[in-house]
Amino acid sequence: MSSESSKKRKPKVIRSDGAPAEGKRNRSDTEQEGKYYSEEAEVDLRDPGRDYELYKYTCQELQRLMAEIQDLKSRGGKDVAAEIEDRRIQSCVHFMTLKKLNRLAHIRLKKGRDQTHEAKQKVDAYHLQLQNLLYEVMHLQKEITKCLEFKSKHEEIDLVSLEEFYREAPPDISKADITKGDPHQQTLARLDWELEQRKRLAEKYRECLSNKEKILKEIEVKKEYLSSLQPRLNSIMQASLPVQEYLFMPYDQAHKQYETARHLPPPLYVLFVQATAYGQACAHMKSSQPPRQDKTLSVAIEGSVDEAKALFKPHEDSQDDESDSDAEEEQTTKRRRPTLGVQLDDKRKEMLKRHPLSLMLDLKCKDDSVLHLTFYYLMNLNIMTVKAKVTTTTELITPISAGDLLSPDSVLSCLYPGDHGKKTPNPANQYQFDKVGILTLRDYVLELGHPYLWVQKLGGLHFPKEHPQQTVIADHSLSASHMETTMKLLKTRVQSRLALHKQFASLEHGIIPVTSDCQYLFPAKVVSRLVKWVTIAHEDYMELPFTKDIVEAGLAGDTNLYYMALVERGTAKLQAAVVLNPGYSSIPPIFQLCLNWKGEKTNSNDDNIRAMESEVNVCYTELCGPRPGHQLLTNQLQRLCVLLDVYLETESHDDSVEGPKEFPQEKMCLRLFRGPSRMKPFKYNHPQGFFSHR
């Protein structure tokens, strides 16, 4: 700035001085140098206020002089030039003063600037110092909080409670007098105590370890001893086998069976246990029979144990692994009609798969006939099925009409009312079937066996209809509660079937095999003869014109067996359609009659035919004979012959027809007709031998 001011000053000097020599300028420069220094000092001495006054005065003077010069010039004249010159000199002086003042101002400005700068630097330094100090304070504060927040490791240690500490720790550790007041000391003491205790426990642990080691060694020694015992025992067992056999004590066999039984699925296992128990109970009750082989119920397990084992293992980790079951499938493959979807067929096979183990129950009846029951378990359906077979000691001549009596398919049908064993008892199965396109289990029962309800109950499986359960668990008590009744029913069924079988053999040859102990039920002379006894189909029965009532009453279900009997006497032919309920003989066979004699007579147009039906169907209890009443069918048929005799002999003789009656009255009757419906005397009174009305 100062240089600039000096530059400005130079031309001014030149202009004001005009064209004087350069030397003068140099001289004035040096002079000015000297003055400059003094001028700087002079600044301090002068009062700026007065300088300002001076400046104002000088400016006014200049203005006045300029105005005077202007005035003089405008007036013109010769004398004015001097005056102008004078004035110009005065002005120059004033200019000089102005210049001086200007310089002074510049110097003052510069000085002021320097002072300001200096002060500013000082302030900056102080500011920086302040910042540093603040930062330091902050850092220190942080350090302090860090220290305050420091967590000691000992806080994580779960110390014993204070009371316990003072109670248990020895006084040299607890130092109650010091530590009670000082929490720090207290904590230290507690930590000491902790350390002490831990040390003790570690000691104990080491002791225990060594103890364990010792015991292990002992066990090892004893094991070695035991294993050395096994071969010796085996040899003893081997040696005792002949003795066991000799004494009929098959302990060994039973043991093996139990071993195998472990691999049975739960329902079969329940059945196995319960059936064995029941068999033993029966054997004990009849302890008078010495040989064990004669026991009525024997249980055996069939099938391959290895397969069952193999089945069990993958079953644990992957339940629906289908590829691992090829081995079993080969055994349990069912031969079914081929379907187009082979995959679907495979799925069906998989679903209907049986457990490789099955249970054989042999039930021996009084007459040495045996009912062989084979129980299977369908793993994926969680139901049990049974196949039945009856064997007899003597070879049976199978009558044609008895075909269904002992067939495995129907021998156990409706053991309990309505239990025909053609539908699955597990309601959940229907959904499984829908998936693989099985319409009903009925198509498969021949191969799989029948899933009768009682079979499920024997296996302890219960499928309540009202409360479907997620998992059905085999229940021993359910099995036990049904075992006795079912076994009795099974025996009765076999006996009744065998009895029927025998009766049929005679009936087919037109002989009604009345036993001697039932002879009293009938008169000595029976003229009507059975000429035909054939089996008929259910559909044929339904279509017979005279069986409508039975069908409408719901007594002609498809689980029954149907027969047609023909009884003849002279020109009279009596057809009898018979419904044989599988529950024979507790449920009687039902007869429907149609008499062909002087027109067709059935229960709808002849009250006496209706009465005859009633005699055999409703009054059947008189015809049961000695218990258990398996002779019922024979007696009913014989009774029918007697009834036909009575009917024909008591028929009123048409007076208008010439000649003798076709059927002369041979039976002794008190009265021929009775009551509004003119009933005939169908009731036979035993020792007297006459017929009366019921």
Partner: protein, 341 residues
């Protein structure tokens, strides 16, 4: 149809027996209660069932209201006949007549009031009672049946006052001529006999089977049903159903019905008859068949017209026979429904 074929549900022993019993049931007799709202019917097992006609006929009748309100074992043998007075129900069948109080029956306390047995000559078989007849004027009850006699019982004292003998075989049916106390009886011997009760003797005999017009030897001679209205009498059975003029003892109309009839009654200017076959036949007196209304039983044994003035809404015809059902006809045109044991 009401008799829809039920789905064949397998039955247990008990159910089968019950079904068979129902199947072989025959309802022999019916009687309407004095109030006209109840119907008693007796079957071949000796049971009497009481049906509530008013409940079954009401608009909100359900299946249960067609079942008996009470059933009780009345006799050991079949209940062949029943009649009602304004207090009592008399039932008879196996040789005994029993009296029951209607009030008690309706309270379901089924205890017999008394029982009487007519004096029978000793026999191996106790004769049955086929017909009961009330003679209101004399306050007596006439019983007839197996012993070929008519027994008159005084209801006041309960003693048997007279026995009318004459039939040679058992008696099927009785009918009362209201004006002069005379009783008609028809029996197995084929004769209809007219008895004067005061004189206790037979006054007229018509041996129906001897008249060629109506005799049907292949059916037998027996007279199964009988009804009378002043001088007219209609009877049927083995011989054809015939309308007779009593004073002249001549058959006037022979009704062309092949099947033997078991029950006949006058109704207004019609004759209703039923018997073998499921139909109730309605005849004009001239012999024309006016209508044949089918019922649900294969054969009918009794008809009952409920004409009690106390219950006009229950004025129905009921028919029962060889089934466990009692058919109810609200008008004569068709069977409305069946009551069932």
């Amino acid at each position: 149809m009401e008799r829809a074929v039920p789905y064949t549900v397998p039955l247990g022993q008990r159910e089968v027996f019950q079904a068979l019993q129902r199947l072989h049931m025959t309802i022999f007799s019916q009687s309407v209660s004095p109030c006209g709202k109840f119907l008693a019917s007796g079957n071949n097992y000796g049971q009497i069932a009481i049906f509530s006609l008013s409940a079954a006929l009401s608009s909100e009748a359900k299946e249960e209201s067609k079942k008996p309100i009470v059933t009780f074992q009345a006799h050991d043998g079949p209940v062949y006949s029943m009649v009602s007075t304004d207090r009592h129900l008399f039932s008879a069948g196996d040789g005994e007549v029993k009296a029951w109080l209607w009030v008690e029956i309706l309270k379901k306390g089924c205890k017999e009031l008394w029982r009487r047995q007519p004096p029978y000559r000793t026999s191996l078989e106790v004769p049955e009672i086929n017909a009961l007849l009330l003679v209101p004027k004399e306050n007596s009850l006439i019983l007839a049946g197996g012993d070929c006699q008519l027994h008159t019982m005084d209801l006041e004292t309960g003693t048997f006052t007279q026995a009318l003998r004459g039939h040679t075989d058992y008696i099927h049916c009785l009918a009362l001529r209201e004006r002069n106390p005379e009783v008609l009886s028809g029996g197995e011997d084929g004769a209809v006999r007219l008895w004067d009760l005061r004189m206790a003797k037979e006054v007229q005999t018509i041996e129906v089977y001897k008249h060629e017009e109506c005799s049907r030897p292949h059916n037998g001679r027996w007279i199964g049903c009988l009804a009378t209205d002043s001088d007219w009498m209609v009877c049927g059975g083995g011989p054809a159903l015939t309308l007779w003029h009593l004073r002249s003892s001549t058959p006037t109309t022979i009704f062309p019905m092949w099947a033997p009839q078991k029950h006949v009654t006058f109704y207004q200017d019609l004759i209703l008859s039923a018997g073998q076959g499921p139909c109730v036949n309605q005849w004009q007196l001239s012999g024309e068949l006016k209508a044949q209304v089918p019922g649900s039983s294969p054969g009918l044994l009794s008809l009952s017209l409920n004409q009690q003035p106390a219950a006009p809404e229950c004025k129905v015809l009921t028919a029962a026979g060889s089934s466990c059902r009692v058919d109810v006809f609200t008008n004569l045109g068709y069977r409305a429904f069946s009551l069932s044991f």
